[in-house]
């Protein structure tokens, strides 16, 4: 055993030295762990069939962002070159992945939320049609963190997506004609929609944004044929609004009781309490459960809302047909740090203490990677993936974080050096899983912040934050990175460091390659086993999009990514913000004042092939 361990650390050391030697401006730090977990590894819950298409933002309902295409592998990736490009004509943060169905690529832009269909069968992929939803320009004023859109979904001949001004829209994929539109949100209450819908058995699941404006969160299921609301479940309020009924069996005692969405708040505060479902949904067809996270409670200043503030900053499991809640787990009870719980949950089966557990793997804003039992909501493990001092671990008996009183906020007091910052160890930017390595590839940021809670005045349609925030790089860390996480042993296997937060999604492929982008505009391919950089290409504007891959009509494999900096982290460039104010963009500008010197704005799609 000792010999093996020594050999393993020798190999790791070798990798480390090799990486330091050849990596340009990416740092790789291999820990003493092996490049691949020893013994059984995490697996997809269902076998991954691949038709070379990409029909939804995460590629599949399990949120794995993994393609079985293997023409581009660790050898051939070095010969990737630009096949064609496409300018979207929009200058804000491009966070969406393109979709590819039947040799047509569909791209959705940030506000004004154009939808383009590009004909992959013709040279240079010309525009087949363009759809403009005519979204209200006023919506831009209530979108907390740039006017982004995180993707569309294809199902049964239709493209479904959300427009910033609170509409869900169905467009005929063959000709770009609008089929229906549903006005679900009200911008005059500060409500917007930015998330990528998920379609389950013909129903379109969408949620709202607005946790910085005191918007009450909800998720809704719309009939794909008509756009009629089948059900809507709120994240706060009485059980009847939250769709909590007799089937609701949360694992932990603190989440059992009547109308906790009212009782865990001071009177009436739940009505403007946030908990918005603006992130990722995943679905397990075997258990017939849909999973999604809820956003931060409003306002950020926790002094005005004593209690756990259910059901914010947690995760729901619901029946997709009725919306009824089955279980709930709260990542951050009484969140004071803007730790939205909306990050993606990957549906994986994980060997766990001798058995195979149906699990969810979730890297949260609060800095922990959680492994949950996806049938019950039990926490199997919760370990940090970035520096955390706002809690001192997660108590696996109660499921609650262990409080760190010195980092809790108090009126009239500035809390300094809280880590992670409001952006979390990881924000919306989605991770990817490879069944070849059993590892989850997590994009992350290393930021801390100073916060001063102040009086929060609720004026509908204006910010309801009540905090002064200034973010900055975590001590002795570079601001971004990519970590390869072993769900079985709950630890980091290797990680890469980047100058800026890695605000892009991640793609993993059968070819053993992991793709991601940086905010200063490098699109990178690294080896899934050890993080060694295999290829990089400089695009004109920083990357905050989601890479995807597909098989073209010519049978070749392509990789696509948006260039177009923005999002909360890139708002300083996309919104021409002033670096002299560290509290600009709710404090993110403090950590990004050098970005305007490294990149400029502008949306362009890049498509690569070997």
């Amino acid at each position: 055993m000792r010999v093996i361990r020594r050999a393993v650390s020798f190999v790791a050391l070798g990798l480390f030295v090799a990486n330091v030697g050849c990596h340009g401006h990416t740092d790789t730090t291999a820990s003493t762990a092996p490049a691949r977990p020893i013994g059984p590894i995490a697996e997809p819950a269902r076998p991954l069939a691949d038709d070379g298409q990409w029909r939804m933002a995460a590629k599949d309902h399990a949120n794995l962002r993994y393609s079985t295409l293997s023409e581009i592998d660790t050898g051939s990736v070095g010969s990737l070159r630009v096949a064609w490009t496409f300018s979207t004509g929009v200058l804000r943060g491009h966070e969406a992945p393109p979709l590819v169905v039947d040799n047509v690529m569909y791209v959705v832009t940030p506000f004004p939320n154009y939808l383009y269909a590009l004909d992959l069968a013709k040279p240079g992929a010309p525009v087949e049609w363009k759809y403009d939803p005519g979204a209200s320009p006023s919506a831009q004023g209530v979108a907390c963190c740039d006017v982004v859109n995180r993707g569309a979904a294809y199902d049964d001949g239709r493209i479904y997506y959300n427009a910033l001004d609170g509409q869900t829209i169905a467009v005929d994929a063959s000709n770009g004609k609008e089929i229906w539109r549903a006005q679900l949100g009200n911008i005059n209450k500060g409500e917007t929609m930015t998330m990528a819908p998920l379609v389950i058995r013909g129903r379109v699941l969408v949620g709202n944004s607005g946790g910085e404006m005191g918007v009450r969160g909800w998720i809704a299921a719309l009939e794909g044929r008509t756009g009629k609301i089948a059900w809507r479940a709120y994240s706060t309020g009485p059980d009847s609004d939250v769709l909590i009924g007799p089937s609701f069996r949360p694992f932990y005692a603190q989440n059992r009781g009547k109308d906790l969405g009212v009782q865990s708040w001071p009177p009436d505060k739940w009505k403007i309490g946030g908990g918005n479902a603006w992130g990722w949904l995943s679905y397990d067809p075997d258990l017939d459960l849909v999973y999604y996270g809820t956003g931060n409670p409003s306002p950020w200043n926790g002094a005005v809302r004593a209690g756990d503030n259910l059901w914010t900053s947690g995760i729901f499991a619901r029946r997709p047909d009725t919306g009824e809640a089955i279980w709930f787990y709260q990542w951050t009870p009484h969140d004071q740090w803007d730790y939205d719980g909306i990050n993606e949950s990957l549906v994986l089966d994980v060997p766990w203490q001798g058995t195979r557990r149906k699990a969810l793997l979730h890297a949260d804003r609060n800095g922990y990677v959680y492994l949950l039992d996806r049938a019950t909501g039990e926490v199997l493990s919760a370990e940090t993936f970035v520096d955390v001092n706002t809690s001192k671990g997660v108590d696996l008996k109660t499921g609650r974080p262990i409080a760190a009183p010195e980092k809790e906020h108090a009126m009239g007091h500035v809390t300094r050096g809280q880590c992670p910052s409001a952006s979390g160890g990881k924000d919306w930017q989605p991770s990817a899983f490879s069944p070849k390595t059993g590892l989850v590839y997590i994009p992350l940021q290393n930021l801390c912040s100073d916060e001063e809670p102040v009086e929060a005045n609720y004026i509908a349609g204006t910010p309801y934050v009540g905090a002064h925030v200034r973010m900055y790089p975590a001590p002795n860390q570079r601001r971004g990175g990519l970590a390869a996480w072993d769900p079985v042993n709950a630890r980091k296997v290797w990680s890469l460091a980047e100058e800026f937060p890695v605000w892009s999604g991640v793609l993993a492929t059968e070819g053993g390659v992991v793709f991601y982008g940086t905010m200063d505009g490098w699109f990178k391919a690294v080896d899934a086993r050890d993080g060694k950089q295999l290829w990089q290409f400089k695009v004109p504007s920083g990357i905050v999009g989601q890479p995807m891959t597909y098989r073209g009509p010519d049978g070749k494999q392509y990789v696509a990514i948006f260039s177009g900096v923005g999002g909360w982290a890139g708002a300083i460039v996309a919104g021409d913000l002033d670096p002299r104010d560290s509290s600009a963009a709710l404090g993110f500008v403090g950590a990004m004042s050098d970005l305007p010197g490294k990149t400029t704005k502008g949306g362009t799609l890049f498509v690569f092939s070997p």
Binding site: P137, A139, G141, V465, L577, R580, S583
Partner: protein, 181 residues
């Protein structure tokens, strides 16, 4: 002779102090609580075909330290800071830079607050008393260096987050017309 010069100097100091003191005492409290209305002859720019040379900007009653500081507090209370930060912007545009999309003249800024603007600035008409809008105007202009040095705030009421307006204040502030009508 020496005595006369000294006397003149003392007189000058006394007069200066008195004048400054007058300025500081020129405070008004919330008056008309009715919804703010727009000045009828408001223009977005200074160009009037064939018209006379634009007049020098008039002295504003709000151009004093008390009103600018009231504006600073109101900027927090009406949630302006949630979008515009402490001048650097966010959901809303930056206010401490030299770019004024809808004009920097007090009437322009007043109209922007009261009317709202099509790319996301909410209309606060009917929500904020006129005198408070004027105080907000004075503070917003100070963020962009358009307040006199002796009235621009040099520190916030909260933790220091941004370069204070006094650092960018000018001795003789000029105004900028609206970029877009």
């Amino acid at each position: 002779m020496k005595n006369a010069a000294l006397l003149a100097r003392i007189l000058l100091i006394v007069t200066g102090t008195t004048l400054t003191a007058c300025k500081r005492e020129a405070r008004r409290f919330i008056g008309d609580a009715h919804a703010a209305a727009l000045p009828s002859s408001l223009r977005m720019g200074e160009l009037v075909a064939g018209g006379p040379s634009p007049p020098a900007p008039p002295r504003r009653e709000e151009d004093n330290a008390y009103d600018v500081n009231q504006g600073q507090q109101l900027f927090e209370r009406f949630n302006c800071a949630g979008c515009h930060g402490h001048g650097g912007g966010g959901m809303g545009s930056a206010l401490m830079d030299s770019k004024w999309i809808y004009g920097s003249a007090p009437d322009n800024v007043f109209a922007t607050i009261v009317e709202g603007r099509p790319n996301g600035m909410p209309s606060f008409g009917g929500k904020i008393p006129v005198q408070q809008v004027r105080q907000l105007v004075a503070y917003v202009r100070s963020l962009g260096g358009l307040a006199r040095f002796d009235v621009a705030p040099s520190r916030p009421d909260s933790m220091q987050l941004a370069t204070p307006p006094s650092m960018s204040a000018a001795d003789h502030p000029t105004e900028q017309a609206a970029e877009h009508p």
